[in-house]
Symmetry: C2
């Protein structure tokens, strides 16, 4: 059997498993999740040992420390995995929920019911925490999952999938609910992306080049979780105390996340009052500033922000700063350079706020709050598989509901169309 | 300017128009639609004359009569266009609707609001009725539209777009809300499909090869409206009087539609009682039957149904018939050969009905009714841009709501993340 046949076999089994999974009860799914916690607890040592093999290989090959940090699993990371499984157990099951109903004049009763999507393909980099988190969200929402992770995490992923399969088996769910593709190496990605007869949705998790490869090669619908080039705009009518506090938080509270602010826009009328103290706060927190010409007249000695800077997700203690003539220019800048993720306005002027919230074309738009809140947990939606920067199907935090679709269920008593 | 530059210019203008369109009121959009009716009334003769040019060319080139029938516009077709505009005026505007809200313990007020998608590309064959219908649905839902229609309808499409643009102009909506791409010919399709910076969604309207081209080449999300290989399954516990009536309706009431039944599945225990009279009814209505071996023992003298038949959307007075051993076999057949469109069970047994409705993986599943009801109007949802056979974003009839997305709007008073 060559690698293509192996993959076809795997995705076929995943499709069959998805038909069974779509029928199981919430209790059965939660039983699996509880069993999975038990199995992970039992296998702590083994997981860390397998992970160490992956880590050792990468150390030998001189991978960056950031790469190895994302790859490495220690006791704390295992605690976090278990915590995330517990969170998913606590979430309500969206499957079977009636989201709309009507009775027609001819007596037809029409209902729209949430159902699982089917088979979901996750294409991701060498981050073994995704292996568990993506799988449990897919299964809780009744979908089976095809995992294609980075090769550097192969040993870790194999043991994690093995543990999930044994938890599935012991709780009588189909073992093919979770599948990992290792055959075919990198070539396999493009091949998987053509298998629309078996896979219903692809979610890429990773950097821009991975997402680009997926988008350009997939015949299957893709929901993208792109970078977050997020903005905070400080309007001329801002409460400056609030602005200093919120902008600082949006930048420094956790700079490596997609919802951290990367660009600060400031209305020219308040720039001279607002920026000096902001710069002082940034300096205290070791934030590198890069500014437009006008900004550099107020904050001297900082680097110039180039056209590239406006497009950049730093994921670091760096911020670009631009002074704008009015709110229209701020909106235009955000819609042009942003990634339609999360953007905020700080203002006491209701009209300006409403204009900003309406005209910014982003998944989450904020008035007087930090962009850092874009998160399934913070929104009260529970765990998420990512933050969608797409507009189709799911926008913003993508949780269990967004991992389902719906069907129309129609009850009649012999109606025919005239 | 070469054809690629021309297209870029058009899609850029469409994107700009979409920002304006997303802000206009329902009244403004309806004013445009009313003006459009007026303009079409004024230009009846001109439209028919331009259309005649297209028809004449196709007649010379010996296109099929079915093709020319779809292309041709007469007074009746214009009446139908006007009727469809009136229907869309009457529909509620989904834009701005609050679909969810919550207040978090930290005081953040989070709302999920319906907003337009942006720019929608419609790629279709030589059916000028689509030019109007797709455009008015997109505009009423606040989207601008890029039309790429079959070249045989070029003169007709140009006059229709011209009329729409003048109605837009006279009611002060952006004229670039509707754009037709004629530059580049067939090559343009593949080029348009890469322009994800400007176009947010592609809806192909046409046959399988058109949809295949779109799916295999698009970097932009696509919602497919595939063929309808729909089934009616007559269970062993069916009320036979109802079954005869419903099956006949599902096949013959309008065989050329995607929701007509193409395959009849019959439980073996009632086949001998049910099929003879069914065959008589089909013969009375000139329906060609093709059967499995078991069927042909009961209905003699009919053609054998081949493996290909089970996959075929006849769109004609032809039906394939298969006798199955049990409901499981019926479900398996439908999930394997169907297009996940519309499928029905006829039974008095509630348990069998529930099993069928739950396990059939289709957009619309019916108990004791004709598959012919899958339609936005019949569901009480209003006009539709098509019947989605996809599971992502829209499933089944795709109307105004499905032409929108949502954004999260968050109001705070200085909240920061701890």
């Amino acid at each position: 059997m060559d690698w293509k046949e192996k993959i076809i076999l795997d995705v076929r089994k995943a499709k069959e498993a998805s038909f069974i999974l779509s029928k199981v009860t919430t209790e059965e799914k939660n039983m699996f999740l509880n069993k999975l916690i038990e199995k992970i607890e039992e296998n702590r040592e083994k997981i860390i040992k397998e992970n160490q093999k992956d880590v050792d290989k990468c150390l030998k090959r001189n991978y960056s420390s950031a790469f190895i940090d994302r790859l490495k699993i220690d006791e704390k990371r295992i605690d976090k995995m278990i915590k995330s499984i517990k969170d998913v157990i606590a979430l309500p099951d969206p499957v079977g929920k009636k989201i709309w109903e009507t009775e027609r004049p001819n007596g037809l009763k029409i209902e729209r019911i949430r159902v699982p999507i089917g088979v979901i393909g996750i294409i991701y980099e060498s981050r073994p925490d995704v292996t568990i988190e993506a799988s449990i969200l897919c299964i809780k929402s009744g979908n089976s999952v095809i995992l294609k992770g980075g090769k550097e995490a192969k040993s870790t992923n194999l043991i994690l999938v093995d543990i999930m399969k044994s938890a599935l088996m012991e709780t009588k769910l189909p073992v093919d609910s979770v599948n990992i593709i290792t055959a075919g190496g990198r070539k396999a990605v493009k091949y998987i992306l053509k298998l629309y007869q078996y896979i219903d949705l692809i979610i890429p998790r990773g950097g821009e080049s991975l997402i680009k490869t997926v988008v350009e090669n997939s015949y299957i619908p893709v929901i993208k979780h792109y970078a977050g080039v997020c903005h905070t705009y400080v309007d001329k009518d801002a409460n400056l105390e609030m602005a200093w506090k919120v902008v600082l938080n949006a930048k420094v509270q956790r700079p490596a996340t997609c919802n951290a602010t990367e660009t600060l826009l400031v209305h020219k009328e308040i720039a001279e009052k607002f920026l000096p103290k902001m710069a002082e706060l940034f300096r205290m927190h070791k934030v590198e500033m890069r500014g437009c010409d006008e900004t550099r007249k107020i904050i001297t000695g900082i680097k110039e922000a180039t056209e590239d800077d406006w497009y950049t997700e730093y994921l670091d203690l760096i911020i670009s700063i631009k002074i704008v003539n009015n709110i229209e220019e701020a909106i235009e800048h955000i819609n042009k350079y942003g990634t339609h993720h999360s953007d905020a306005i700080i203002t006491e002027n209701k009209e300006s706020a409403e204009k900003f919230l309406r005209e910014i074309d982003s998944a989450a738009v904020y008035h007087n709050a930090s962009t850092r809140f874009t998160d399934g947990g913070e929104f009260g939606l529970g765990a998420e598989i990512g933050i969608s920067t797409d507009k189709i199907h799911a926008r913003g935090p993508m949780g269990l509901e967004e991992l389902t679709t719906y069907k129309y269920v129609i009850h009649g008593n012999g109606q025919i169309r005239e």
